[in-house]
Symmetry: C2
């Protein structure tokens, strides 16, 4: 724990953090302006739109998104209020309401998706050479590997 950062590392870290912050902000802003969806809205609606029957259990959404229970509950409550989806209690398992995308929600995500994907291309991959894209993949995997075994959120396992 007594090792600090070299000057180069410190500089790289600064750039890295700033890049993440700006990129996230740029993507979220464009999404919001074009379609009125936040990034979390988009993630939820995208999964629902891909699902068979345009519906999923909360549990499946949590697994895909790696979100906490309460985080999903809050997000779904707000989205239901805006008419993007509905939660209908399911007869076979009363404690697991089915989350279903509405026509409005489906229209929103389908309208937003092409431009969103195009922006990822323009802002992330276009500025990089093919080699750098491969480097980025390797770097992301290496750091992820170093983070293995760390829970993404507080473990509730007593």
């Amino acid at each position: 724990m007594e090792i600090g950062l070299t000057e180069n590392e410190s500089f790289t870290w600064r750039n890295f953090v700033r890049m993440q912050t700006r990129l996230k902000a740029a993507l979220a802003q464009a999404l919001q302006e074009e379609s009125g969806l936040s990034y979390p809205d988009y993630q939820v609606l995208f999964l629902l739109s891909e699902a068979t029957g345009h519906a999923l259990r909360g549990r499946d959404l949590r697994v895909e998104l790696q979100w906490e229970k309460s985080r999903l509950a809050h997000q779904l409550r707000r989205m239901e209020g805006r008419g993007l989806l509905i939660r209908e209690s399911c007869a076979e398992d009363p404690r697991a309401p089915i989350v279903k995308i509405t026509a409005a929600g489906l229209a929103s995500v389908q309208a937003a998706a092409p431009a969103h994907v195009a922006r990822i291309h323009d802002l992330v991959f276009k500025p990089l050479t093919d080699g750098q894209a491969a480097d980025l993949d390797a770097i992301a995997q290496a750091i992820l590997h170093g983070l293995r075994d760390r829970p993404s959120h507080r473990s509730a396992t007593s």
Copy 2:
């Protein structure tokens, strides 16, 4: 705008997003547990601790952090309530109170800094080769360059 992502790019994007999410969460959690500071707390206290006189104008903090006015105001209000800093109105410019770190705030950030920096080393640079660290720097700069001219937040220029 009609260009999508290749299969490889899609995979890389997924890893990249997941890595950012997990890394940020890991750093924030450790900071919180060890010192009771959030990441925004740490950023503010670090800048104040480095400043001459252990004090800065709000404006200088905003430039360094690239934060919005209101974001900084809310953050400072909460931190002042916890005794980490004080805002004292300055005689020479009544509309620009001076933000000053307290002894408690200074102690907190000085206690937190070594472990925080060590974690950045362990989680980011240790899993990478020297070449990859250089790649990461180049990638971050390339993407940042592609984001130039985009305001980090809504421009208030009427």
